[in-house]
């Protein structure tokens, strides 16, 4: 269990984290989302006692981080920023951390095996790829077999097999009753992994809710209908006062009406349905909806820009023609 109360961090003028209050509960994977610069990494650093909060309070299982004796046994973290000495072998890196927290040495080869780095245990991380560094970081987080794990962008640099493995690992850790707190920019990945979401924007809490509720509240849901008799179906719907929109692929979309009711309606009028599927927007859409306006670096939406269409070939055409 992680509890934050009124957590605030200022760097000079800039407020990185602004009165954050939420808690991360055990037994579920909690996703931590926000645009770049929203304060996610700062929050994670504050959680680990690396930065000192300007105001507010964080408790790990009821205690402050620096009150934890052997903290690796309570909370294990994978930080996005590099946190390994490139000249010290993976084995020795984990060993020195294990020793500082009274973790037996036999645990080191165990976690190395778990993340698939046994073959390079004696190698120095200087030569590791992004994905290998990530695996070492995960091994470090698991070292103390902690009740709380925190991952910052865990799938960065991993290949599909590695991504699949991390996802399963996190769900497993949560199923074992641990607290799993994970930040990621990959919405599609998050929607497969997390059950609960904490969303922040410009340092402020924007949502603290379940995945399903988040998507429901922040996006359009509708039912897609497909039938060999679209005209009849439209008539039936029209009579029932239900507006339906025809989509280019031949299906109909109906908003704000339960699929069950549409099914009953179709059965009543003996209309054959080839599809009757409730559609939900993706987490990405919901996230975009919520955080629009709190994004730091905006790329131009060049597609629709006036100069973009010049010459029908897109930007860059201008100066090429002018040559």
């Amino acid at each position: 269990m992680i509890e934050l109360e009124g957590l605030t961090k200022r760097y000079g003028e800039k407020v990185a984290v602004d009165h954050l209050t939420f808690s991360v509960r055990p037994g579920v994977v909690t996703g931590f989302l926000g645009p770049n610069g929203a304060g996610k990494s700062t929050t994670m650093r504050l959680l680990l006692g690396l930065d000192r909060p300007t105001a507010g309070d964080i408790r790990i299982d009821g205690r402050h981080y620096d009150q934890l004796r052997d903290p690796l046994n309570y909370i294990g973290a994978l930080l996005e920023a590099k946190s390994v000495h490139g000249g010290r072998s993976a084995y020795n890196h984990l060993l020195c951390l294990a020793q500082s927290n009274g973790i037996p040495e036999r645990r080191v080869p165990e976690v190395l095996d778990m993340v698939g780095l046994t073959a390079v245990a004696k190698k120095r991380p200087k030569g590791f790829s992004l994905g290998m560094g990530q695996r070492l970081g995960i091994a470090q987080a698991l070292l103390g077999d902690p009740r709380i794990v925190m991952f910052d962008e865990p799938v960065n640099g991993l290949d599909p097999e590695g991504i699949h493995w991390v996802r399963t690992l996190m769900q497993q850790l949560a199923a074992e009753g641990r607290t799993v707190f994970v930040s990621s920019h990959l919405m599609s990945e998050m929607s497969l992994t997390a059950e609960h979401l904490v969303v922040i924007g410009q340092g402020k809490l924007m949502a603290d809710t379940s995945m399903a509720a988040f998507i429901h509240e922040n996006s359009r849901t509708y039912v897609r209908l497909r039938t060999p008799e679209p005209e009849r179906l439209r008539n039936v719907l029209h009579t029932a006062g239900i507006p339906a929109v025809a989509v280019s692929d031949g299906s109909l979309e109906v908003e704000n009406v339960a699929a069950a009711r549409l099914g009953e309606l179709a059965a009543e009028h003996r209309i054959v349905l080839h599809e009757l599927s409730p559609q939900q927007a993706s987490l990405e859409e919901a996230f975009m909806q919520l955080t629009a306006g709190s994004v730091e670096y905006h790329a131009h939406t060049t597609a629709e820009g006036p100069e973009a269409r010049r010459g029908g070939q897109g930007w860059g055409q201008g100066w090429q023609e002018g040559r």
């Binding site: 650093r45 680990l48 006692g49 690396l50 930065d51 000192r52 981080y65 620096d66 934890l68 004796r69 052997d70 903290p71 690796l72 973290a77 930080l79 920023a81 590099k82 946190s83 390994v84 000495h85 490139g86 000249g87 010290r88 072998s89 020795n92 890196h93 060993l95 020195c96 951390l97 294990a98 020793q99 500082s100 927290n101 009274g102 470090q140």
Partner: protein
């Protein structure tokens, strides 16, 4: 207590598992002994050309530590690497999340490094003394002479203190580049210049290395710059003062600043 033991063990693993760090200690030993031997050999062969005054203040003990001016730079490098590389590699984030008690973390790191440097420093000091005396031949002295044993043990202490000073400064600066950029020219050039130029000599005498190296001199006036307002132990005490100041500054930075 058990907690401190673990952190000490952890810091020992850290020191011994990075090759570049261990190389600096080896370099400190080789450079000090090698250069001292060379200077002693030259001194032995050129002694006859020395002026009367030079002969009067000739200090066979001190001259066998001549290589330390360069050897201490390797010791400083060790101190900087042990501390500042934690920051430059990002290891500090792992270290402090494992040991959030920053005071304990710093104390254990210093203790492990000090113990190691003390052993290497003493070994270097004794060997460079014996090698130097052997090469000085008839000009040489022995541990039995008054003040000589103090000077040789002092040589080991000096190397240890200069490393501790570098570690304290590195905790303040938190960057190996910055620490090297300040410490190396300071101890290699600036301190020597300040100590030799008459206008700044009185200030220069109180710099850590100038004051501390007094412990290695046996014959009065044998050191460059002549009279000093303190004796060998007084000089070492001044150096200890510098080290304590650097370490306190380092502790305050570690305690107050975000990692």
């Amino acid at each position: 207590m058990a907690h401190t033991t673990r952190v000490l063990q952890s810091e020992w693993t850290k020191v011994r598992s990075v090759r570049s760090t261990l190389w600096t200690l080896f370099a400190a030993f080789i450079v000090t002994v090698g250069l001292s031997a060379l200077i002693c050999a030259f001194t032995n062969s050129g002694y006859d050309d020395f002026s009367a005054e030079e002969k009067a203040t000739f200090d066979p003990t001190f001259i066998s530590f001549a290589g330390m001016t360069l050897g201490q730079l390797a010791m400083i490098a060790f101190g900087v690497l042990v501390v500042a590389n934690e920051y430059s590699t990002g290891m500090i984030r792992s270290s402090l999340s494992a040991v959030p008690q920053r005071g304990t973390f710093m104390a254990c790191k210093l203790l492990v490094a000090t113990a190691l440097v003390l052993v290497v420093g003493m070994l270097t000091s004794f060997i460079t003394f014996f090698v130097g005396q052997a090469l000085l031949g008839d000009l040489g002295t022995s541990l039995g002479e008054p003040g000589v044993t103090r000077a040789v043990i002092g040589g080991g202490l000096y190397m240890t203190l200069i490393t501790l000073f570098a570690m304290g400064v590195s905790f303040v600066l938190r960057s190996p580049l910055l620490a090297f950029g300040i410490l190396m020219p300071f101890f290699f050039l600036i301190s020597n210049i300040l100590g030799s130029v008459s206008a700044t000599r009185n200030v220069g005498h109180y710099l850590p290395d100038q004051a501390g190296s007094m412990i290695m001199s046996v014959v009065e006036g044998g050191m460059e710059g002549g009279d000093r307002p303190y004796g060998p132990w007084g000089g070492l005490l001044i150096m200890v003062g510098w080290v304590i100041a650097a370490l306190i500054a380092g502790y305050l930075v570690l305690k107050k600043r975000d990692a």
